[in-house]
């Protein structure tokens, strides 16, 4: 994408007015997407995003500029714009000598998206549509989206780092609407991994479509969810979004250092039920948040955040690690070359417990069983967080009974982590997610075994 020597000269330009650190992040991303709705393949789209973001750090100040012009002249112009923050400068010429980092390959790609014909991509959508509609007359509408991307990144910085990675992702999303006497209900499933097109040989997309359809049909007979604080059992792999929101964001070092996290100053303390061991792991091959290197050029890592309930560490990016004298953790990520990196999660999950999932349900006289979670959000400073339940059932006398209508659950992170009173041994990863922070979205994964929170507030309407 860019020559080694050009990168060295651009970094020198970036530091010409002074500055402690300079970095070039360049990416070249090709993507294809196709959407089917109402029985029609509406359109196939192709996209190309190519450019570089350059930052210069002077003390606590970062200057940043980006450009779609990857010529040396274009990069130098961006470097000069980014270096405007270093006006006191006068540092003279600084020579940057780059050393290529050994490749850190996490994800194995068999079939690259550009080697697959568009017809094969589109036919996935048609198979999904047919399978969902085969579930009966209640299915009123089906929409499906396919997307692939191949992104090459190069990161070079004034510490001499030069690293590259290639990230290939494939995702399929299925939404179904079912019609009943009492109105419409929806079902949703998705399949996304950081792998090649072989993904669709390894998974049964028709079954995924039927699952989405069943979800919508089942909800047609759903009754209003309860209202108030009750026990909640969360199915394995239904979405570790619970942990993503309840504590993941609060363990990001940028929020911690500004005192905007309830977990500030809590390293070494018991912050969760001793049942809980929480990991953020960018090396989990093939998962949606898996990366070879982060967007600051550091290899992805397996980081234990909470061990047996005790907070062991936060997640770090370059700026926060440098300021606190901490090692990188491979969590410096950004949406694209147009964005500054910050601390972000990768694949965040809770390790297995020892109980049997069926026993956990059987031991719950009354509660809510959440089979599928929707999105969520958190206020890291107060710890209050919400997440949606898109498929849930009532638990009565230790058995699943009626399906429930959708709603939010609300809780306080530190409280909910302490209130986890049962953890099963049936770990599963959840659906691919997009985590939003400060206006940037990045792909993340999550997972967890079946677990019970002894009390959470369910935002339903039933007494």
């Amino acid at each position: 994408m860019i020559e080694h020597e050009v990168l060295e000269r651009v970094l020198a330009t970036a530091l010409r007015k002074g500055g402690d650190f300079a970095e070039v992040y360049a990416e070249d991303k090709s993507s294809t997407s196709a959407g089917l709705d109402d029985g029609r393949v509406e359109q196939v789209s192709s996209g190309r995003d190519r450019g570089a973001g350059i930052r210069v750090v002077v003390g606590e100040t970062t200057g940043f500029a980006y450009t779609a012009d990857l010529s040396e002249a274009g990069l130098r112009a961006a470097a000069e714009a980014a270096s405007a923050v270093a006006s006191q400068g006068g540092a003279g010429t600084r020579v940057v000598s780059l050393t290529r980092s050994p490749a850190h390959v996490v994800n194995r790609i068999e079939i690259y998206p550009d080697t697959v014909g568009k017809a094969a991509k589109v036919s996935l959508l048609q198979r999904v549509d047919e399978a969902a509609r085969s579930m009966g007359g209640a299915i009123g509408q089906v929409s499906a989206g396919y997307a692939d991307s191949r992104k090459r990144i190069i990161v070079a910085n004034s510490d001499g780092l030069l690293a590259e990675d290639e990230q290939v992702r494939h995702i399929l999303r299925i939404s179904v609407v079912a019609n009943g006497d009492a109105g419409m209900q929806t079902g949703f499933e998705s399949l996304g991994h950081t792998v090649g097109f072989e993904l669709f040989d390894q998974h049964d997309v028709e079954e995924l479509a039927r699952t989405a359809a069943r979800q919508a049909i089942t909800k047609l007979r759903a009754r209003p969810a309860p209202s108030g604080a009750i026990p909640v059992v969360i199915k394995a792999g239904s979405g570790g979004v619970l942990f993503h929101e309840a504590c993941g964001h609060g363990l990001e070092a940028d929020l911690v250092s500004k005192g905007a996290s309830v977990y500030r100053g809590k390293v070494g303390e018991l912050v969760a039920s001793p049942l809980v061991t929480l990991v953020d792991d960018g090396t989990m091959a093939g998962e949606w948040g898996a990366i070879g290197i982060d967007d600051e050029g550091h290899p992805s890592q397996h980081n234990v955040l909470i061990q047996d309930g005790v907070l062991t560490d936060y997640m770090w990016d370059h700026l926060r690690a440098r300021k606190e004298g901490h090692a990188h953790s491979g969590n410096g990520r950004r949406q694209s070359y147009m964005h500054l990196p910050m601390v972000r999660m990768t694949n965040t999950y809770v390790l297995n417990g020892t109980e049997n999932a069926e026993d956990i349900i059987r031991d719950t006289p009354y509660g809510v069983y959440v089979a599928k979670l929707g999105g969520g959000s958190v206020n890291t400073a107060s710890g209050d967080f919400v997440f949606g339940m898109t498929e849930a059932y009532l638990i009565e006398n230790g058995e699943l009974t009626d399906p429930l209508r959708e709603g939010n659950l609300i809780g306080n992170g530190p409280q909910v982590l302490r209130d986890i009173d049962a953890l099963a041994n049936d770990f599963a990863m959840g659906n691919p997610g997009t985590c939003g922070k400060d206006g940037q979205g990045v792909p993340v994964g999550d997972g967890q075994p079946t677990l019970r929170v002894k009390s959470m507030t369910i935002g339903g309407t039933a007494a």
Partner: protein, 450 residues
């Protein structure tokens, strides 16, 4: 917007001139610059200054649509985008309604979307504004810390050309300042935010942004989790604007024809309280999202959606209108050059009542003033109508505001909430969102707490 010449218009014109026989081609070309400044503890934390540009091309042939984009205006890249879009055509399903918009003769209502004072505003002054906002906020209350103070502006130019005769271009700029706060009391920390928007920095009200940011954070200190029960809620204008954003999905003509709107087949029927009159009017220059043309290049216009509780109609793009057997309402929306046009409301406004929020609260026997909601994206389903969201605010007892409350949800269904509207306030607030804010009183909502 104008139909005159510009560098971007020339690029768009050149692309559509390459249309082959039987092909419809649309070129959407954009270029933008942005400045983003963040201040923390009196210093610049980051300063972002950047430019971007790109082109999106749609090709329609024999009822099939193909699309491609690239984030560059390089000549060779543009040629490859057109080739890709053409190649993609073959894989669509033929659709008898597919097609580009055609000029419909509706006159454009000119808007002042470009401000010379902003374009000429010096960078050093932008930094000074954000620093001043941080200082004012920190000084407003001893319990308040500033998480960050920001200044942002952007300027963009776009041009659209189609083989069906649409040819428009224009430019637009805008700016805002915002501040995030933390308020501490012992172990407890709460957050707040404040902002001010303007066509130019001269329109900012920094003192108000600082006061609101401090107030939002401190008012929740010591908040309790309320009991679970049915109550009347008074939505702050800021919350009402978000509520209207949810409703907009059911008024989207594309959702209606595709069986995804709870308002389908209900035109002429009562869908809300008679107090509820809703329009979409991007031609009102007071609206933050006021605009002169829509995403396909047709004139933006005023559309009546719900009149005294009775559903009047839906918003449409040229495609959804063709399928529904009607005409475009000028409601095509697109997210820049990377996307193709969809349908959406552009600037929703609820017809205001006459009274202040304090007067509305004084009439509530047992309720909650909802000042913030959390999780509208996860607990609200605009297709089924299920509505459940995290919330915080102040209890109302016998017409008096009481203790702050947090970590609870409010729930109902959209269908019921629209009928349960008790009163619309007179306190219209032209917020930086797709809908204007106004206080709204809704009865019989379930509050779930302890």
């Amino acid at each position: 917007m104008s139909s005159g010449s510009s560098q971007l218009q020339d690029i768009a014109d050149r692309v559509i001139a390459q249309a082959a026989r039987g092909e419809q081609v649309e070129a959407y070309v954009a270029r933008g610059v942005e400045t983003d400044i963040r201040i923390y503890e009196g210093e610049v934390e980051h300063f972002v200054s950047a430019q971007s540009e790109g082109i999106g091309i749609r090709v329609i042939k024999d009822g099939r649509t193909g699309f491609a984009y690239a984030g560059t205006l390089d000549e060779s890249a543009i040629a490859s985008v057109l080739a890709q879009a053409r190649d993609n055509v073959a894989f669509g399903t033929p659709d008898e309604w597919a097609g580009l918009a055609e000029p419909d003769g509706v006159a454009v209502v000119p808007q002042e979307l470009w401000n010379e004072a902003l374009a000429a505003y010096p960078t050093a002054d932008k930094i000074a504004l954000a620093k001043e906002l941080e200082r004012l906020t920190a000084a407003s209350d001893p319990r308040v810390r500033v998480d960050d103070a920001n200044y942002s502006d952007g300027a963009g130019e776009t041009a659209v050309a189609t083989t069906t005769g649409i040819r428009v271009n224009g430019r637009e700029n805008a700016c805002y300042v915002s501040v995030s706060t933390l308020a501490d009391d012992g172990d407890e920390t709460q957050t707040g935010f404040g902002f001010s928007v303007g066509r130019s920095p001269h329109e900012f009200d920094l003192a108000k942004a600082a006061r609101e940011a401090a107030d939002r954070a401190t008012r929740l200190l010591g908040a309790i989790k309320p009991p679970s029960k049915r109550v009347t809620v008074v939505l702050d204008p800021y919350v009402t604007a978000q509520f209207l954003g949810v409703i907009s999905s059911a008024l989207n003509g594309e959702n209606v024809i595709k069986g995804r709107s709870l308002f389908a087949n209900r035109v002429g029927e009562s869908v809300a309280s008679p107090l509820f009159t809703l329009i979409d009017d991007p031609t009102n220059s007071k609206a933050y999202t006021a605009t002169d043309i829509d995403g396909e290049g047709l004139a933006a216009r005023r559309n009546s959606l719900i009149e005294a509780g009775v559903l009047q109609g839906f918003v449409h793009s040229s495609y959804s209108a063709r399928r529904a057997g009607t005409v475009s309402t000028g409601n095509s929306v697109r997210g820049g050059f990377k996307g193709t046009p969809g349908v959406g409301c552009l600037a929703m406004q609820l017809k205001p009542g006459a009274r202040t929020q304090a007067e509305l609260v004084a009439d509530v026997e047992d309720g909650v003033l909802i000042q913030m909601v959390q999780g509208l994206h996860s607990g609200v389903n605009p297709i089924s109508g299920d509505f459940s969201t995290g919330a915080s605010g102040l209890l109302i007892s016998r017409g008096q505001l009481g203790a702050p409350v947090r970590e609870f949800t409010i729930a109902s269904t959209l269908q019921r909430m629209l009928h349960d509207i008790v009163e619309v306030g007179g306190d219209v607030d032209w917020l930086p969102s797709m809908a204007a804010g106004v206080s709204l009183v809704i009865a019989d909502v379930t509050m779930s707490g302890a």
